[in-house]
């Protein structure tokens, strides 16, 4: 066993002994977290924004797939896999064991002919760009945040931008899933298409994804152009712009008529991406406006936004598409069918203005291509528009998000699995044609519900358990 069992109610020595005994004599597997803690309790766990808290019985950090398999075979009791903790929903909390996957990382295999690479599920997205480039590959699209793990990002259908580009899960061509009883499933579209299409967006409810094979492409550079423009004029030609550019999105500034616009295209131009200049004055001005009532901010923000200078940089794809997000926040994101995206965005902006919601964080509006996963937020027969609202991590987001969520639902929105939402089984089942199939598969792969917690029981309509957080 090569892994770390920490601060468990079930010690490493006890676990090893239990594992051996169970193997030798067919004894019942020890239940993690079921015995009184003999040592100091494990540290609390919090997500990236700090709003989600768990008190796990212990942490298990397998150094290999074999260690993970041994652990799951030798134990019972609740577990939850954790990546980088960037989800704003309660996907991770458990009073059982956290399974920390960050040692299951790196590029494990690659094929120059197909331009596919197999990577550890615990690999952080930001750690993959350079080594993939050295192998002659690059990921086809990337999300904003580069510190998520590949397994965590795909489990929640994390996506970037582009009408021709799917979520990360859409580019998975194969994956390994270690299930609740330590079983190993190697999945692809040919051998077991149903399980494969379900497991590509699994919420971590089917097991631990230890390796993922992605369809990549040859390395490429991107030219990133940004500017400020009135939100309405961007919306009027958004479809044409989205079709013309590899990536096109905008960040509408609330309580204003402006948006920051982003267009990204492939280029052969050399890299030019100097360090950003310090504050251009916009920030200082915005800080001043925060002292004004929201209803009085529009002319001031409009005047300043109209002065924002256009920008243009060129960089390798993985550096151009991802960011380090230093300022922590909470976020709600829904995807709505493309043809109602603009209408939905307008209503969100109008509601923020009419209710004078005191928020400064811009919205985000982008397109995501349809895929054939079961639970991807853009899965199905139509492309989607994704709309995000944010609050800084130190602010209470509930009143703001509660005011906007009904608008998303009115337009047929589906929530991002890793971002704040209030939906349960009844609502979600109506949004996804294969939702009940996923529930049945989950029950088959994890009949004892080891990978369920309170949030997932709510999502999948399973009865509450006294054994799960």
């Amino acid at each position: 066993m090569t892994g770390r069992v920490r601060r468990s109610g079930f010690s490493r020595r006890e676990w090893l002994a239990g594992s051996a005994l169970a193997g030798l004599f067919g004894m019942a597997r020890p239940t993690l977290g079921a015995t009184p803690a003999a040592t100091a309790p494990s540290l609390p766990w919090r997500n990236w924004s700090g709003g989600i808290v768990a008190r796990p019985a212990g942490r298990f950090a397998p150094a290999s797939e074999e260690a993970l398999i041994d652990f799951l075979r030798a134990t019972s009791g609740p577990v939850r896999p954790v990546g980088s903790g960037h989800s704003f929903t309660e996907l991770v909390p458990t009073d059982g064991h956290l399974i920390v996957i960050d040692q299951l990382a790196g590029i494990l295999d690659h094929d120059p002919a197909t331009l596919q690479a197999t990577m550890g599920g615990g690999a952080r997205i930001g750690d993959l760009g350079a080594p993939l480039e050295a192998l002659g590959q690059a990921m086809i699209n990337l999300p904003d945040i580069d510190r998520q793990t590949l397994a965590g990002a795909t489990a929640t259908a994390t996506h970037g931008t582009g009408i021709a580009h799917q979520s990360l899960s859409g580019y998975i061509t194969g994956m390994r899933l270690v299930t609740a009883d330590g079983g190993v499933l190697d999945l692809d579209a040919e051998t077991d298409p149903d399980t494969f299409h379900a497991a590509r967006v699994s919420l971590g409810a089917l097991g631990v994804v230890t390796r993922i094979r992605m369809q990549n492409r040859e390395p490429y550079r991107l030219k990133v152009r940004s500017w400020a423009q009135t939100t309405e004029s961007v919306l009027e030609t958004f479809d044409e712009s989205a079709a013309r550019h590899r990536h096109f999105e905008m960040f509408p500034l609330v309580h204003s008529d402006y948006a920051l616009v982003l267009a990204i295209d492939e280029t052969d131009e050399p890299v030019r991406n100097p360090p950003p200049e310090e504050d251009d004055g916009f920030g200082a001005a915005m800080a001043g406006w925060m002292g004004l009532p929201p209803g009085e901010r529009r002319p001031h923000i409009n005047a300043a936004a109209s002065q924002i200078a256009p920008s243009e940089v060129v960089d390798t794809s993985h550096r151009a598409l991802t960011n380090v997000r230093n300022s922590r926040f909470n976020e709600m994101e829904y995807s709505v069918p493309l043809h109602v995206g603009g209408e939905c965005l307008r209503e969100v902006l109008r509601t923020i203005a009419e209710r004078e919601i005191d928020v400064v964080f811009p919205l985000e509006y982008r397109y995501v291509a349809r895929d054939d996963t079961w639970l991807g937020m853009s899965s199905g027969d139509e492309d989607h528009a994704a709309i995000s609202i944010h609050r800084t991590a130190t602010e209470d987001y509930r009143a703001y998000f509660d005011a906007i969520e009904p608008i998303f639902l009115k337009y047929g929105g589906r929530p991002h699995w890793g971002k704040v939402h209030s939906l349960g089984h009844a609502e979600l089942s109506a949004l996804y044609p294969r939702f009940e199939d996923f529930r049945a598969l989950r029950r088959r792969l994890d009949p004892d519900g080891r990978f369920l917690n309170a949030h997932l029981r709510h999502v999948f309509g399973e009865p509450p358990s006294e054994d799960s957080a």
């Binding site: 770390r4 919090r46 980088s84 960050d102 040692q103 990133v224 151009a320 380090v324 300022s327 811009p362």
Partner: protein, 121 residues
């Protein structure tokens, strides 16, 4: 890098963010005597470092004090172990809770802080 957008967004956020991570004194405050001195920096700890702290504490992302920068660490150490550990676990300003080390327990963080503050492995 989405520079202008990031600048604008960061600027917006700066208006409502908390104060900077630490005040910058004219002279670094002395470290608390013996803070973290008994924490053991093992190969295991260095593995944790390479998978988590390294993300920000090498290049100083999010105003993180850089590894080995004794001047930057001194005022933090001066606040004592309990304060530093609590901020590490709960998150502080732009540092996320647990500093991306999901496997770390209290003794791990003690060793990691000692290492980053200049303690030799």
């Amino acid at each position: 890098m989405r520079r202008v957008l990031l600048l604008a967004l960061a600027a917006v956020l700066a208006g409502c963010a908390e104060p900077p991570a630490e005040p910058t004194p004219e002279a670094p405050a002395p470290a608390a005597p013996g803070a973290f001195a008994d924490a053991e920096i093992t190969d295991d700890i260095m593995g944790l470092w390479s998978r988590s702290c390294i993300l920000c504490h090498v290049h100083g992302e999010a105003n993180a004090p850089r590894v080995g920068d004794a001047e930057a660490w001194a005022p933090r150490l001066a606040q004592g172990e309990d304060v530093l550990l609590a901020r590490t676990v709960e998150g502080y300003n732009d540092m996320p809770p647990l500093g991306y080390c999901m496997a770390c327990e209290r003794e791990d963080f003690r060793a990691l802080i000692r290492f980053m503050a200049g303690g030799a492995p």
